[in-house]
Symmetry: C2
Subunit: 229 residues, 2 copies
DNA sequence: ACTATATTTCGTTTAATACCGAACTATGAT
DNA sequence: ATCATAGTTCGGTATTAAACGAAATATAGT
């Protein structure tokens, strides 16, 4: 009784195509300016301003003023989570005409999901970590093994700090394009950062797609036994 | 790029107050008829019929014809999950006037969340299971301990069958009213069934609220050290 | 056959809101 | 000071879709 309207409020906000596209763009994890967001969803700045105002008021996004720019980002992981959940619904929807562009293919191959890696590469990475006993799947969740802890230390990653936050360390995040789990949570986030730092992955223009560099391809094969294409 | 519109499609469907209320009613886990759903959201059957048609087409709900009745239920756990995620957004929203009725209070006290127990009672139960070492919280997920397995067997619950499905056994489900975790997953579901079978809990009319019986109050205190009010 | 109930289809009204153009404010650069 | 860029506010238009009444269809019971 009580909750229907509240759900509707949030869902209606996300339910507008322009707003949904803007939120999608923010799934990147980064902050974008109002004009960038307007451009990304193909509307004029005036219209985007109105949308962003409503999204901010509803606490779905947060603003940060910097000079004459306003940087918008998703307000918290809950928002990203809800967007993911909706994405999974869309995929489970009716089999109907869904045109697949080249950009689409790039997204399916590798993309960011809020702050971790998704797509074929993300899923392959998760599978590799499971196979080599770094992660374990228990009761539908991911778990770092003793082996895994040692492996992390060797990588120079600070396990203690991962455990610090209230955030799940290794969460099992269902991939909408692959329908297989990829790795999220704090570990997923630092792993993506690490891959970017090594320049194995490069972010692409204004989308969430990422490309695999040559060294990345080699590195993934050498370190994780992943061969793609 | 590609996904914005898809998210929007699902979200827009959920975003209508009448539809959201109907979906909420189905969070019960049970199947309801078209007229019951119409009544629950305060609209006429014609209007509800239209809504339900769209929800079915989008595979958010499923229909089963039985004579002249049509029973609607949520299509899958993904839908329930998305609704939960949206509910959490709503709670994290702006502090603004939210009238609280008596029915509201009943929901906050104890209710079903898809197929497990939520509300103050649900949260208290989860806390008790954690405290007595039946469950463990690891990396933001729930986990059954060795102690817990023994306890389950004593209760006559079949642990093997819980592990069978692909479903998580003990999932940590954020409670929107308490902002604390309650127990979901396969274990959450059988536990709710058990409590209902013992008549410790009774479902209330057409809502998701459940009431605690006298024996339930006593039982919870005796077996779980939970004292409410 | 006849009646009652459940649900859908159709047509119309009405309310909400996304969108843009124009004008305005704020910040930064020259 | 002047200009350019980023963003917002306001007003009007146009589209969408939610809602109901009326009437049709389907099933069950008598």
């Amino acid at each position: 009784m009580i909750e229907g309207p509240y759900i509707a409020e949030a869902a209606a906000l996300i339910g507008d195509p322009s707003r949904a596209t803007m939120l999608s763009a923010l799934m990147d994890g980064r902050a974008l300016t109002a004009t960038e967001l307007a451009y990304s969803s193909g509307i004029t700045p005036q219209t985007a301003s109105g949308h962003l105002g409503r999204l901010t008021q509803a606490r779905l996004v947060e603003v940060e003023k910097q000079g004459r720019h306003r940087y918008y980002r998703l307000a918290n992981a809950h928002v990203a989570h809800a967007l993911e959940a909706l994405m999974n619904l869309a995929v489970h929807g009716p089999p109907r005409h869904r045109p697949t562009g080249p950009r689409d293919e790039a997204m399916r191959f590798a993309r960011t999901c809020y702050d971790h890696l998704a797509g074929r590469v993300g899923v392959a990475l998760a599978q590799s970590l499971l196979k080599s006993g770094i992660l374990e799947e228990r009761n539908g969740a991911f778990e770092i093994t003793a082996n895994g802890e040692a492996w992390l230390e060797k990588l120079g990653l600070d396990l203690a700090s991962l455990n610090k936050g209230r955030r799940a360390v290794a969460s099992r995040c269902l991939d909408w394009s692959e329908r297989m789990p990829h790795l999220g949570g704090a570990l997923g986030a630092v792993l993506l950062k690490e891959l970017e730092a090594r320049e194995w992955l490069l972010r692409v223009d204004g989308t969430r797609a990422v490309t695999l560099t040559k060294s990345g391809k080699a590195g993934l094969r050498r370190n994780f036994g992943i061969s793609l294409d």
